[in-house]
């Protein structure tokens, strides 16, 4: 067993897990954060995407031990109690998700993109989210939502990353 302490959504959380435990299973099974989804479990689909130290990561491909001492942001930490993240608002308004299973991963990849590049072109968005598959939606409304948030943010000072 290894003991892992991860700063999850701004709060330190500790668990003792077998060394082969992935970050995804640590989040879902130890911390009951079930927003990140187990789709393929081998890094093909992106449904498990979270942010580790500000970068988007397939949490099914990272061992829990590798996340020790690092900052992890999951979909549960994207909104505050008072308000949704602008990406979540835009996805809701445009109906960007259908079954929603890929949604938390897509939203985290989108956040990682906007944190790094507040004014992405459509091609930037396509490239950045190419590792997040979706079987339902056809993606169009996701691109529109991300573009909309980027444009709206362009009019304001760049937001601080969570």
């Amino acid at each position: 067993m290894v003991t892992v302490t991860v700063n999850v959504n701004g709060e330190p959380r500790t668990a003792s897990v077998p060394p082969e435990t992935t970050l995804l299973r640590l989040l879902r099974e130890q911390f009951n954060l079930t927003g990140a989804k187990l789709g393929c479990d081998v890094g093909d689909c992106g449904a498990c995407t979270v942010m580790v130290d500000g970068k988007s990561v397939n949490s099914c491909l990272m061992l829990a031990g590798q996340a020790d001492g690092r900052d992890v942001l999951t979909i549960e930490g994207l909104a505050t109690l008072e308000r949704l993240h602008p990406l979540q608002e835009a996805f809701e308004q445009l109906g960007s998700l259908q079954c929603g299973f890929c949604g938390p991963g897509i939203l985290m990849s989108a956040k990682a993109l906007l944190d790094e590049n507040p004014d992405p072109s459509e091609q930037d968005i396509r490239d950045a989210l190419a590792g997040n598959l979706c079987r339902c939606t056809g993606y169009i409304k996701m691109i529109e939502a991300i573009q909309g948030v980027a444009r709206a943010d362009g009019a304001r000072p760049a937001p601080k990353s969570a």
Partner: protein, 780 residues
């Protein structure tokens, strides 16, 4: 009909889906997330061969692994379930392989452990000795006399009366053959000016729903079993589990949550019988969740071989058509016989053809089982008849759009089955396609090694019939409302669509209506969420239930307000009279129950009219409640050096009756287009001796953001249907019918090659190109 609803408030609005907040914050409920106290995880040991007798199963090594609770085989299953064969059309699929295996990946044993990793490790240690038998994978070869036979005899389920005559039939892989006969097709060919004959194929593809299949079972004392399952058909699961166990349905509870996609994969029985039997054996809750890879061995779309022969006059009128289709059903029938018949009878397309002969064969092979996949067999047929339509049009020098207009089957015409067609807006769909494609304007055909082309296609489906939906609308003591129904929202926005209908009837905002998740203990029967039937069937049931409870409220209000019933209506969140009196629903409940208490229940049920087709001729005056018509247009660029097709523009147009939620309808059309784009260009399960060589999303590519056409749109035409709720028809599948032949027609337009088999991979395109230039590529 449009005029009969002059004041629609909730219908026709592009409202966000009711559960959208929970979806964007990651909290929406999926069965995927469910854990039960004390539960065991089951991992499946699967057959490594395509066809063979089981000589011996040795579970010793698996049982010896520390932490393994039990290893379950067919022998254990028989103790719970003496006749362990299930299926919606045939009772042919054993819960675990019994005596023999019929496809690679067939479940043979289940290892149960509290730790899923231990169960997985031990599942590999189960050792099975087989006596291999000859296998057959090609659907045409499997249907021929002398082919190795998988099932000793046919076992129709009995639920479908037209299959009963097949009981006990031996020595064949043909599970069902169906026919349609109208006029004399051979005489028609003799009279035709030209006769065209082609054979088209489609390979096997997979749903790839992102929430892999998952089911859990738990016992409640001696008298009950609850199955939590990501299922599109909770009512069917209840009745089938009841039948398997010999229990009345009321002892089986089946509940679902939101589904992470379905597309037809999560219908009928998948894991539910396994978890039920395991839970009964070990008396603990049991969860089985498939990996993405295992889904490739669980259910697929039908591969098909379509032989199509068409006679035409020199001025481009189709006069005679014969279509012979072999459906590769895999090792177990699942719903394949229904795909064969219900889609097979549309194989002549949306065309008015004097003489038609259609033959369809549901064929057992040793591939994994095939079932429903968004479109229920239609896209395989459209691939054939719309490719051929272009080949005919070009041979005759007729514009492909004009050729379709000349032959279109319109409302008032007679379908090949003898049914008089109603609600088939071919002209409107073709007009919209022509407009969106700028069909009559000049088109840039590219130059050098990049050549451009464009194509279009139309396809039709008859909604499956007869089926029943029942709904209840409850009004609680405070006046708030909930819909109880078993329609499963798997991303298609059925919750929101149905809530809009109830809200319209009750004069409430859609957001005030709550949908109760399907749970057979509390939500009434529904045949299943499939075949684009929910908006129409459950929509009608919900409207009737809402009208029932509204009428109860109005009667209460009439008494309370002392006004005539005819003076009252539900609007603006209340019951209002012409004279201006107003009673909220909560007031009405207090008037009825003397305090904030009680429940009013409105009930509605819907079964459309239907006449069973004649067994010999397939003729019926009333074959379907509604026709679904979809057209697509594509513009592509072909790289002649690599064979790669880039779809630059893709337009999907559907005849939807009325769009209850226009944004949802549009999204269904564009998303269906992308799914079909994958099937058209690159998705294909590659087999070797029944083994899937690319059973992962790494090797079996589904469309990603980089595959998206730059110009992708969905568009619909609205002519309200007389029987639809507010005129609506189903739309979930319509967008998959036509993109594939539209793209292939564009390929022909660009470079003059015809590929008869989907998908249009770069290799196939390049080979065909090089052959057309008389410098063929070497074979591997």
């Amino acid at each position: 009909m449009a005029d009969s609803h002059p004041t629609l408030r909730e219908i026709g609005r592009s409202l966000p889906r009711l559960e959208s907040r929970a979806k964007v914050n990651g909290s929406v409920e999926y069965i995927h997330n469910l854990r039960l106290p004390g539960m065991l995880h089951g991992k499946i040991h699967r057959s490594a061969i395509a066809h063979g007798r089981i000589v011996r199963i040795d579970a010793g090594a698996a049982l010896a692994v520390e932490g393994v609770h039990a290893v379950v085989t067919a022998e254990d299953v028989l103790g719970i379930c003496p006749n362990p064969y299930y299926g919606p059309a045939f009772h042919d699929q054993p819960i675990l392989a019994l005596g023999k295996v019929r496809h690679v990946g067939e479940p043979v044993a289940i290892v149960l452990a509290a730790d899923p990793h231990i169960a997985e490790e031990a599942a590999d240690l189960v050792s099975v000795e087989y006596e291999p038998l000859e296998a057959v994978f090609d659907e045409v070869a499997a249907a021929a006399p002398g082919a190795p036979v998988s099932h000793d005899e046919l076992r129709p389920a009995g639920t479908f009366t037209d299959l009963k005559h097949l009981a006990g039939r031996k020595g064949t892989n043909v599970a069902l053959e169906t026919r349609v006969r109208r006029g004399d097709a051979d005489a028609g060919f003799a009279r035709a000016d030209r006769v065209f004959e082609h054979t088209f194929r489609t390979g096997k593809v997979m749903h790839a729903a992102f929430e892999p299949m998952v089911s859990l079972a738990e016992l409640h004392g001696a008298d009950g079993l609850t199955i939590h399952t990501a299922s599109q058909s909770p009512s069917f699961v209840r009745s089938e589990i009841g039948r398997l166990l010999g229990w009345p349905e009321n002892r089986v509870r089946v509940r679902t949550a939101f589904l992470g996609g379905g597309f037809g994969a999560k219908l009928y029985i998948k894991l539910e019988a396994m978890v039920a039997v395991c839970a009964l054996l070990v008396r603990r809750p049991v969860r089985i969740a498939l990996t993405m890879d295992e889904q490739f061995y669980t259910i697929t779309k039908h591969g098909a071989t379509v032989r199509i022969k068409t006679g035409v006059t020199s001025d481009g009128r189709m006069t005679s058509r014969k279509v012979e289709t072999y459906w590769n059903g895999g090792a177990y029938a699942d719903i394949g016989p229904r795909v064969t018949q219900k889609s097979g009878f549309t194989a002549a397309g949306p065309y008015d053809i004097e003489s038609v002969a259609l033959d369809n064969y549901a064929v057992y092979t040793n591939d994994p089982p095939a079932g429903a996949l968004r479109g229920f067999g239609i896209s395989q047929l459209v691939w054939a008849y719309e490719r051929q339509a272009d080949l005919i049009a070009r041979a005759l020098g007729i514009d492909p759009l004009e050729f379709r207009r000349r032959n279109a089957l319109r409302s008032g015409g007679t379908h090949a089955t003898g049914t008089t067609v109603y609600g088939m807006e071919v002209d409107a769909v073709l007009d919209r396609l022509a407009e969106r494609m700028a069909w009559h304007r000049p088109f840039d055909r590219g130059a050098g090694t990049i050549r451009r082309g464009r194509g279009l296609a139309i396809g039709v489906k008859a909604c499956v019939s007869p089926t029943t939906s029942t709904a209840a609308v409850h009004v609680h003591g405070d006046g708030s409302c909930a819909i109880h129904c078993s329609t499963v929202d798997m991303g298609q926005a059925s919750d929101t669509t149905l809530a809009q209908m109830a809200a319209e009837v009750l004069g409430l905002p859609t957001t005030a209506i709550r949908l109760i998740r399907p749970d057979t203990d509390v939500t009434p029967y529904d045949m299943a969420t499939l075949g684009s039937r929910s908006t129409f069937h459950m929509g009608n049931a919900v409207v009737r239930a809402a009208e029932d409870v509204r009428d109860q409220l109005l009667r209460i209000a009439a008494a309370a307000l002392r006004v005539d019933l005819a003076e009252l209506e539900c609007r603006d969140q209340a019951i209002v009279s012409r004279g201006g009196a107003r009673l909220t629903f909560g007031d009405a409940m207090r008037a009825r129950f003397a305090m904030q208490a009680g429940t009013l229940v409105g009930v509605g049920s819907y079964t459309p009219h239907y006449t069973k087709p004649d067994g010999e001729t397939g003729q019926s005056p009333d074959i379907t409640p509604f026709w679904m018509l979809g057209g697509a247009g594509a513009e592509i660029a072909v790289d002649c050096e690599t064979g790669r097709i880039e779809v630059t523009k893709l337009v999907n147009v559907a005849d939807v009756g009325r769009a209850i939620n226009p944004a949802s309808v549009e999204r269904q059309l564009t998303s269906a287009a992308i799914m079909q784009l994958g099937f058209t260009l690159f998705e294909e399960m590659v087999f070797s001796d029944g083994q899937v060589l690319n059973a992962s999303l790494a090797d079996y590519k589904i469309p990603g953001l980089l595959d998206l056409p730059r110009d992708l749109t969905g568009s619909f035409v609205e002519v309200p249907h007389r029987d639809g709720p507010f005129g609506a028809k189903g739309v979930g599948e319509t967008g998959v019918f036509s993109p594939a032949p539209a793209i292939a027609n564009a390929l022909y337009d660009a470079v003059g090659i015809t590929i008869f088999e989907m998908p249009l991979t770069p290799e196939r395109v390049l080979r065909a190109l090089r052959e057309s230039e008389n410098r063929p590529l070497e074979k591997d």
